[in-house]
Amino acid sequence: MADTESPTQTKAPSEPSNGEDDIIRIIAMHKWFGEFHVLKNINLSVKTRERIVICGPSGSGKSTLIRCINRLEEHQKGQIIVDGIELTNDLKNIDLIRREVGIVFQHFNLFPHLTVLENLTLGPIWVRKTPKKEAEELAMKYLERVKIPEQAAKFPGQLSGGQQQRVAIARSLCMNPKVMLFDEPTSALDPEMIKEVLDVMVALAESGMTMLVVTHEMGFAKTVADSVIFMDEGEIIEENEPHEFFNNPRHDRTKMFLSQILHH
């Protein structure tokens, strides 16, 4: 595992939320895939500028949870409220929320038939109705942020995995989201490319972006997370600030997971 070691900051434990300034609020949410109860009684709130890391064994429902937040999956019970808008079957609400929430996938999901620049300007032009020229300037700004402006004219298939994932991050940022979701953004990458993507994510965190990150990069969690969530079998087992989470896990399942992941 590639750790992005920088001096470990100690963070104030998150204050109990009053629910007012929460950008994401999930209340008693359940989800089933057919008969299979994949998410059970999920309660979670994310404040503006907060960085939350979600970890847990394979199949525990981490991806499903964050995919529910922008309605790539539909929940069946409970509430999900994003930026004051509740996710329902109302397509207007779904559209509004999707504009505010960016997501970065494990497999990048770039559009292979479009150049890097076109990948980035597509959302601004068609969803936000930004003029093309302005959209291109915006795109170049974010490509510089992720340090690959020179690749703008290439097609995704011509880039390395790490570069593709950075393009994907820039593509989400071009929509100017209030929250960024990451679903194991580095787990499809070769080890030598993980760091370049994590560096971009750390810089993004430092710029004040609200982030919800599913990852097993514990170095990243220690460096930037305000709190770490452990999920198992569809439930949130434990949530704590990183120092306590790693040094003092309360649940046996968390301990077991951590020992597996840290000493494999």
Binding site: N109, F111, H113, L122, W126, F155, Q158
Partner: protein, 379 residues
């Protein structure tokens, strides 16, 4: 090398003593490349291969000399009857084709009005330019013209509004093949796309309608559909109204090709990974936007071979109009054979018709290869 003895630096390698890290790029030995090597390996690799090569070469040689002799060297290009041809040459009698050429092209279209057919051919080529070449300047304006072209062509060919009316009964020859083929090609692609998307729809009614349509169309031979067009459709239109037979055929041919097109495109759609739909959704694109901008460009690109295959099949199927009494280029050829002056020249006629179809279809096939290459973005 045995383990444990690998420490000392290896100073001389087998092929000539370069120190590690100093080996230059050398050209491959001449025995593994070059045309002589290729011929040696591929044509004369063994005794059997050599024998096969010689036999094949002999057959190719005799076939080519025979064909060239028949088609060009011994052929007669002028004359007023078969007798004239035979008097001067032993090979093909192309005078027959030349004599009937305008019939082959225009069918029974009235002679003084044939400039209209010529003009619509020229305009057709202009209308195709922006479709075929996406890098041309002012493409979006040119595409407006392309969309108007079917109406312009229909007006030119049929007449009315200042032009003399020409009945579609008089359409024939190559012109009839082109009218049916181009109409079918132009409309079957969009209809096929809609059917393919409908087949994947979340709405059961839309899905069932599309699936039944596709299956019915695919389950019935085109000839049957053309008979239906000729005979049955008149039951459905109010008596007294005249629903042009050519239009009915155009509809049937288009629908038939659309059914196949839908299945070809469905194959392309299935090859698009779910992640593409999800990325488009997550970005906030609406259904039609994500189809138009993300999914269809990729799906159509994958489907190019199948789409062109359908186009080619459709184009060749235009000869089937013969079954409802319309004479396309093949029909004209067939009926010309009845002329006593030219009897016995069926080979010439069929070679000519085959040549015409081959050129058109081969051009489509080459274009599609070029397009595939151009759209390849490396992955």
């Amino acid at each position: 090398m045995t383990p444990g003895k690998t420490e000392g630096p290896i100073t001389v390698t087998e092929d000539g003593g370069y120190l590690p890290g100093t080996h230059p790029d050398l050209p491959p030995p001449s025995s593994v490349h070059g045309p002589v090597h290729w011929i040696k390996v591929n044509l004369f690799g063994s005794v059997t291969e050599t024998a096969l090569t010689l036999v094949a070469a002999y057959f190719l040689y005799s076939a080519i000399t025979f064909l060239v002799g028949w088609m060009f060297v011994d052929a007669a290009f002028t004359g007023e009857s078969r007798k004239d041809c035979r008097a001067v040459a032993t090979g093909a009698c192309w005078a027959f084709i030349g004599n009937r050429f305008s019939l082959f092209i225009y069918g029974f279209y009235p002679e003084p009005e044939r400039w209209r057919v010529d003009l619509s051919f020229v305009l057709l080529i202009l209308a195709m330019v922006p479709v075929l070449f996406d890098r041309m300047p002012q493409r979006s304006k040119a595409l407006i013209y392309t969309c108007l072209y079917p109406f312009i062509a229909a007006w030119l060919l049929v007449g009315g509004f200042g032009l003399e009316q020409v009945s579609t009964d008089q359409f024939g020859g190559l012109m009839l093949n082109v009218v049916i083929g181009v109409t079918g090609i132009a409309f079957s692609l969009p209809i096929g796309i809609v059917l393919a998307l409908g087949r994947q729809s979340q709405l059961p009614i839309v899905r069932i309608l599309c699936v039944s349509f596709i299956e019915i169309i695919r389950g019935v031979p085109l000839i049957t559909l053309l008979f239906v067009a000729a005979v049955m459709l008149s039951y459905f239109v109010p008596p007294g109204t005249n629903f042009d037979l050519l239009v009915r055929m155009l509809i049937m041919v288009t629908l038939f090709a659309s059914g196949y097109m839908a299945e070809v495109i469905r194959g392309g759609l299935q090859a698009i990974p779910n992640g593409q739909y999800e990325a488009a959704d997550a970005m906030g694109l609406k259904y039609w936007q994500s189809m138009r901008l993300i999914v269809l460009p990729q799906a159509l690109k994958i489907s190019i071979p199948g789409i062109v295959n359908t186009f080619i099949a459709l184009y060749k199927d235009t000869t089937l109009v013969i079954v409802i009494g319309r004479l396309d280029i093949l029909g004209i050829g067939n009926s010309s054979l009845a002329d006593t002056k030219w009897q016995g020249l069926s080979t010439e006629v069929y070679v000519f018709v085959a040549f015409f179809f081959f050129v058109s279809c081969f051009a489509m096939s080459r274009y599609s290869l070029w397009l595939e290459k151009k759209l390849h973005t490396g992955h």
